[in-house]
């Protein structure tokens, strides 16, 4: 059974002058960890707000657990947990007060569903008397997740939970999501960090309101159209410019320590020819290797 079904959804703002979501289709299976991957302004938040019944689509239909987001909004609200991108808890209430409040709104108590949040809550419990507004970013994020979980939702909507969070906290957060998934909760999560895509079972790559691809991360990588190579040399800035102007090169993008390139008319001698032509341009210590694309390579390719 699909927990989320989105069919031809369109959402416009400013009297139709801005199309935020443009004919979007995808579905999320029960128990799946599904990622919406795309930059700011891609339409991720609008999709979340439609699915959590906070916005009405202009066209198309969407359902959560078989319930229609327009007609059955009351039932949907009882069974979803939503963590918005912007911190939306009560800043003046303490950690414990916030959690109690959200539990009581859903007619439950912290004690009743403690098992579900225990793993996360123990990390912020030492600060339970601190006001939410005085928490650090990482702790706010954990509290928000607890509040979204306290009524034991069937599906969790997490809108950019790791934005602006450092590498260590991001890793911890994804570990937590994995454990929630193991408990059978369906999770729809969005992120602008392409490297987090591989932590999802399936992902939708989204840009300018349109979905470019919905697949498993492995499949998206498999569909990358050209053999990809990583290249470096002593002067990376000059190398980038020279590669972009090189007739043998089809695409060239900076990727940290290396530049990633694809060839026009790749042959067995392509690498050798390229190295020679770069040496003629005075590049030193040239190193080139075939590599497997990552999700960011695929995203860039789909954008072009």
């Amino acid at each position: 059974m699909n927990m989320v079904e989105v069919v031809d959804v369109v959402k416009t703002y400013n009297k139709g002058s801005l199309t935020a979501v443009d004919q979007v289709n995808f579905s999320v299976k029960k128990g799946e960890l599904f990622g919406l991957i795309g930059p700011d302004g891609a339409g991720k938040t609008t999709i979340f707000r439609i699915l959590t019944t906070l916005l009405l689509p202009n066209q198309g239909s969407a359902s959560v657990a078989g319930l229609d987001v327009v007609k059955d909004y009351k039932q949907i609200r009882k069974m979803v947990g939503y963590m918005p991108g912007k911190f939306s808890l009560y800043q003046d209430l303490t950690v414990e007060e916030n959690l109690n409040f959200f539990a009581s709104v859903f007619n439950t108590s912290i004690a009743e569903n403690y098992d579900l949040i225990k793993d996360i809550y123990v990390q912020i419990e030492p600060f339970k008397d601190r006001r939410a507004g005085k928490l650090s970013g990482g702790m706010k994020q954990k509290l928000a997740l607890c509040c979204a979980l306290i009524h034991k939702p069937e599906i969790l909507f997490l809108d950019e939970p790791t934005t602006g969070v450092d590498v260590v906290s991001r890793k911890e957060f994804w570990d937590m999501l994995g454990r929630l998934k193991d408990q059978g909760i369906t999770i729809l999560v969005s992120t602008p960090y392409m490297d987090e895509a591989t932590l999802c079972e399936r992902i939708a790559l989204i840009q300018n309101g349109k979905i470019m691809s919905v697949e498993t991360p492995d499949e998206i990588i498999k569909q990358y159209p050209d053999p990809l190579f990583a290249i470096k040399a002593s002067n990376m800035g000059k190398l980038l410019i020279d590669l972009r102007n090189n007739p043998y090169i089809k695409t060239c993008n900076a990727f940290g320590e290396f530049h990633h390139i694809t060839f026009n008319n790749l042959s067995d001698s392509s690498m050798e020819i390229l190295v020679k032509s770069l040496e003629n341009q005075n590049h030193k210590e040239i190193e080139i290797n075939p590599i497997t694309p990552n999700i960011e390579d695929c995203f860039i390719n789909l954008m072009n």
Binding site: P39, D40, S136, G164, V167, G237, A254, E257, F299
Partner: protein, 248 residues
């Protein structure tokens, strides 16, 4: 690269009551260098940057920014630097032209210089048709590029970039780094924070802050060698894992 020092700190410290936000940091940044200022959330980066920009008075220690003293010459410092962050960069309800004029004016450009700069900037960015449009109507990528260009409109010695590419799409992110390289090649020193570890690789040198202290400072290559890591991600993880502070 010439080794002219444009930022020099010596045991720079900021305390808030008993809490030592920035603990005795000492480092140098050279002219034209792209310097990555990394650290976990709550490590003290923002506090340190505020001091370097002349916005926050240190509790102790010394620092010279673009040749000016961090205690006595904060106004001169502010004139010698540019600043841009993801959170604050441009006024959304002003047009492209109005933003350029506003920031040019703030940075003290004379009107004829400003006019020439404005024309040059609009041409370089290809914004001829958008000059009189509100910034809010521009795609994010264009905003970022405009914001950066405005931050260096007065040819500052140093530009501070606080997570300039957060949430930006991968193509625009790369175009943004082209601008950074270009500014650096013109001798502008780039002081940048980021959560993208591939961007850490684009820096000439990187400092890593953990719990208010600089725990490591070197080129990406040397750091990876030192920590036996394949990627900067691993270096960061290795260093930040031991952090006891989990602030913002």
């Amino acid at each position: 690269m010439s080794k002219e020092v444009v930022i020099k700190t010596d045991k720079l410290t900021k305390k808030f009551g008993d809490f030592i936000a920035t603990n005795s940091i000492s480092f140098e940044v050279y002219k034209g260098e792209i310097f990555g200022f990394l650290g976990a959330n709550g490590a003290g980066k923002t506090t340190a940057m505020k001091m370097l920009c002349g916005l926050s008075r240190p509790s102790s220690g010394e620092a010279m920014i673009a040749g000016f003293d961090i205690y006595k010459q904060t106004e001169e410092i502010k004139k010698s630097i540019g600043y841009m962050s993801q959170k604050f960069s441009l006024y959304e309800d002003l047009t492209v032209k109005e933003n350029i004029d506003f920031f040019g004016g703030i940075y003290g450009l004379r009107s004829e210089d400003l006019k020439a700069k404005r024309a040059e900037l609009i041409k370089t960015l290809g914004l001829e048709n958008e000059v009189n449009q509100l910034v809010s109507s521009l795609p994010l990528g264009w905003k970022q590029k405009l914001a950066f260009s405005v931050a260096v409109i007065h040819d500052p010695k140093i530009v501070f970039l606080d997570e300039p590419t957060g949430g930006v799409d991968p193509v625009t992110r790369r175009q943004f780094w082209d601008l950074i390289y270009d500014a650096s090649s013109r001798g502008i020193t780039i002081f940048v924070t980021t959560h993208y570890m591939d961007e850490a690789e684009y820096c000439n040198r990187i400092s890593m802050m953990v719990d208010g202290e600089i725990k490591a400072l070197d080129s990406p290559f040397n750091l990876k060698k030192q920590y036996g890591a394949d990627t900067m991600d691993e270096v960061f993880y290795e260093l930040a894992r031991g952090a006891t502070r989990k602030g913002d």
